[in-house]
Symmetry: C2
Subunit: 177 residues, 2 copies
DNA sequence: TAGCGTCAGTTGAAGCATCAAGTCCACATC
DNA sequence: GATGTGGACTTGATGCTTCAACTGACGCTA
């Protein structure tokens, strides 16, 4: 019954297992640094970082969710926590009454400015400086291919049936750098 | 005060952001397939899969935790759940009274046999078949470099002070394939 | 064989993510 | 201008992960 399955070759399996291990252990390794030094989760760090780089230090919730690769629900909870700590503020959008804008306070900016160097140092240590420029470029390219594939599949399931998409971003943010 | 930080170059930043996005979205994409088709988390899948491939369908808890890239505590909770569903059994080890052996039941074997094809198909679709063999190999190689770096850092913090290590596996399981 | 440090695993509490409603607003249609 | 549909969040409940004790078992030393 399950015999026309195309199992992975040994080489493919090894590469896949290494990637799977990386997806579990690298986030954990980064989280532990952030948690220890800044008492932030990686998601919280992303949110603050994206806010700090946005014009007016202000971004729409839905946009922020897409940038941070998270669901709107998750972001809402996180922003509530960040708000409680005084790092962000919420206000309704002037243009669109449905939208909520999140604004980074001075305290929030100070927080991310203080936390960024340690985090970048860790990213350098574990990833960027560990690889040759060619390896890093190849890694990034492979990631983009897979991400595009994920987006394509999300889009398909969206067209196929009316069910909700996970976080549905259009991967149109290639303008970061 | 924070001015001797070596920030990332645009190229480095782009590669890093793509990797960061991948680490969040690929696990989610795989989980959703497993959840929908098999009602399993990826971690549960890993546990069952490792058990099914082990001699006697039986593995020590601590060994299983290392193979699955998870903490012993997490594994213990998960095994409790799997036990409740009748897919695994626990028994004390004969050789070492401290150790607990986890054994995959027939029902558990049937479960993983039924779930594997769909999961492998998804991994193929999103990753293995999306990349050229060279890209996949390069991706795997980059992952190994980073994983080794993470292990090295874990080891350092272990030598430096007596505190507990995260999940401390020795990355000595390169014999999977 | 008693004592001590360590290892292996379990457990309960606390925190975070996910899921399913629910609310409010905008826009199109009649 | 009333109605309906869909978008943009928010909220509460549920479940999983993590963290910090805690329990026993092993092995060494005396």
């Amino acid at each position: 019954m399950t015999d026309d399955v195309r199992w992975l070759s040994p080489d493919q399996l090894e590469a896949w297992l290494d990637l799977a291990a990386l997806m579990i252990r690298l986030p954990a390794a980064l989280e532990s640094q952030l948690q220890r030094d800044a008492d932030l989760s990686q998601f919280e760090y992303f949110v603050l970082a994206h806010l700090s780089e946005s014009p007016g230090r202000e971004v729409r919730m839905s946009e922020l969710a897409a940038m941070s690769n998270g669901s709107l629900s998750r972001l809402s909870h996180v922003v509530s926590r960040l708000e409680r700590k005084g790092w962000v503020l919420r206000r309704p959008s002037a243009e669109d009454g449905r939208a909520t804008m999140t604004w980074l306070t001075d305290a929030g900016l100070a927080k991310i400015v203080a936390s960024a160097p340690g985090h970048v140092e860790r990213v350098r240590d574990l990833v960027v400086d560990a690889l040759t420029p060619e390896q890093l470029e190849a890694l990034g390219a492979a990631c983009r291919v897979v991400l595009d594939r994920i987006d394509a599949r999300d889009g398909e399931s969206c067209a196929g049936r009316p069910g909700p998409r996970p976080a549905g971003r259009s991967r149109g943010c290639g303008d970061e750098a």
